[in-house]
């Protein structure tokens, strides 16, 4: 029992990181119909950024956080302007390969800047761990879960309450109609990229103290993010969030109770099951559609 609670705690922690990654991907998909295969690399850049700015340059944590997110979001904007926009009218499979190319490029750049060795990042808070029902809860985990919820909540409010957010939703529903009613859909596309890569960077910062950060950590995180987004149903914000948490918990339980080697397989088995049983995802009414 005690063990299971412990697994649940760690599962929810990693799950909320997957959730943040999935929210970024899903949001980008709903406003641009693009799956960004380099999303994981932006997560990696977030983790590596906090290594440099917080650990090496010793700036205060909030400032380091803001700087990292801003820098990565800026790179996301450059990526959209330089690569995606020039190729906007291409087939989706071509766009997917462009993002794959970008992910290889970013990994190469990170390898040159930070080298091949992994880095560790100290805990964000130095408080003692709390004991609940015999299981230890590190304040760090609490911090991550709360931050993830705040992030998703902010994005939710942004879409529901602000004019810009509503304009983005309009673009997602029907780009041409939005454009006809005076919404600059190009700007909205850039904005979607900025928010998506920014949240990716935040996810990277959250995960940095939990695992080792290295230049090649992004791919698997990105793929897990896809799984989570697919489980929840592409394009739905809270669906992606719930998918992330579910994935994290199942992974942690599977690794603890069955075998740690099969941990990575769980995400993909779950993905296949969801795709076979309810192809649109758990929380989406939309039917899976063709490119």
């Amino acid at each position: 029992m005690q063990e299971i609670i412990q697994y649940l705690f760690s599962g929810i922690t990693t799950g909320s990181i997957y959730a943040v990654i999935a929210v970024g991907l899903s949001m980008l998909y709903s406003s641009t119909e693009l799956i960004n295969f380099s999303h994981g690399e932006f997560v990696m850049l977030g983790a590596m950024g906090i290594v440099t700015i917080w650990v090496h340059l010793a700036l205060p944590l909030p400032l380091a956080f803001a700087l990292t997110v801003a820098a990565v979001a800026f790179m996301g904007m450059l990526f959209e302007r330089l690569a995606i926009r020039t190729a906007k009218k291409h087939q989706p499979i071509t766009l997917v390969i462009i993002t794959v190319g970008a992910s290889i490029l970013l990994r190469g750049v990170a390898m040159i800047i930070w080298g091949k060795d992994p880095f560790s990042v100290p805990q964000f808070s130095s408080h003692e761990s709390i004991e609940i029902a015999g299981a230890a809860l590190v304040p760090q985990s609490l911090f991550i879960v709360i931050a993830a919820f705040i992030l998703a909540g902010t994005i939710h409010l942004f879409f529901k309450q602000t004019l810009t957010g509503k304009a983005m939703v309009a673009c997602a529903v029907n780009k041409k109609a939005a454009w006809l009613s005076g919404i600059p859909s190009e700007t909205m596309g850039v904005l979607a990229f900025i928010i998506s890569t920014g949240t990716g960077a935040a996810a990277g910062i959250f995960i940095a103290p939990i695992t080792m950060s290295s230049y090649d950590m992004g791919t698997i995180l990105g793929l897990k993010g896809f799984c989570a987004a697919m489980i929840g149903g592409l394009g739905s914000l809270w669906g992606a969030f719930a998918g992330g948490i579910l994935l994290g918990v199942l992974e942690s339980l599977g690794a603890g109770l069955i075998s740690s080697g099969l941990k990575d397989a769980i995400a993909f088995i779950l993905l296949l099951l969801i795709l076979y049983i309810c192809p649109g995802g758990l929380f989406s009414a939309k039917v899976a559609k063709r490119f």
């Binding site: 998909y29 799956i35 690569a83 020039t86 190729a87 291409h90 087939q91 989706p92 499979i93 071509t94 997917v96 390969i97 462009i98 794959v100 190319g101 970008a102 992910s103 290889i104 490029l105 970013l106 990994r107 190469g108 750049v109 390898m111 040159i112 791919t219 793929l223 896809f226 799984c227 697919m230 592409l234 075998s259 080697g261 099969l262 990575d264 397989a265 993909f268 088995i269 993905l271 296949l272 795709l275 076979y276 192809p279 899976a288 559609k289 063709r290 490119f291």
Partner: protein, 327 residues
Amino acid sequence: MSQQKRIFIEHTLFIIAVILCGLLIENTYYLQIITFIGINTLLALGLNMLMGYAGQVSLGHAAFYGIGAYTTAILSTTFGISPWIALVCAVGGAIFVAFIVGLPTLKLSGYYLGMGTLGFGMIVNIIFREWSSVTGGSSGFVGIPMLELGSILFEAGKSYFFLVWGVVFVAIVICRRILASRMGRALRSIHDGENASMAVGVNTHILKLQIFMFSAALGSIAGFLYAHFVMFISPDSFGFMVSVKMVTMVVIGGMASVWGAILGASLLTLLPEVLHSFQEYEMIIFGLILMIVMIFMPQGLTRGLIDIYEHSHKSRSGSKANIKKTN
């Protein structure tokens, strides 16, 4: 020139090119690279049938490549069975797996199909990695025997080169026969509009399944040839990045073109070899090339180069016409 005559000439040219390459090239390193190009061509051909003609994206095709390689490795090394019987088992196994996996997966479409195949590829790769008592785990599988046929021993070099390219030739002929048949036309109709082709009586699901199984078979033959060529396999050779590389070969070479598959396979085999001299910058340059080609030649290199040629031709004749007018 009739279609048949053109195909005949193309095939003859292909055979002559292969024989000339085999006879003239003495350098073992070059022979090895061209052999790898042949193996990759098989992969690209199979995936091209699925992606280019039937319009179904697979992001997990390296799984079949791996199934081919691991089946023959395990059967011929651990159990001492003749590799040729292992080949039959490998192809049969891949087709069977493709059937089981394809049955539910090919009902999906678009990104969902991509993710479904990706998940399948990842699971197979994790099995290769974790089932270490049988597959050797992440450290790999060593000691795969060389191929032998009667008195011919296929070792790395000319004999293996001819074996691989012979198989490639047979595969090209089979692909072309399929494409020229009723099945090929039905496949293209799926690519252009699945609902429309269903409406005129094409059983799209079975057809997609058949072509998925066919491309899995080609993939497993490539895996078989790879395993007996390198004589060492590890899960890394069949991971997600390899699946992506296969898709890239098809797209860069140009979808729905048999020669495009060879072009794509050659480029993606040669590029890393050439980029080795840049050492640390290899990944950056590779990523950049990939992005730039896709941004400026979204139809792939075959189509892109033809377009550039036609464009320059047209603009030249266009400017001539202008000059005439002003005169």
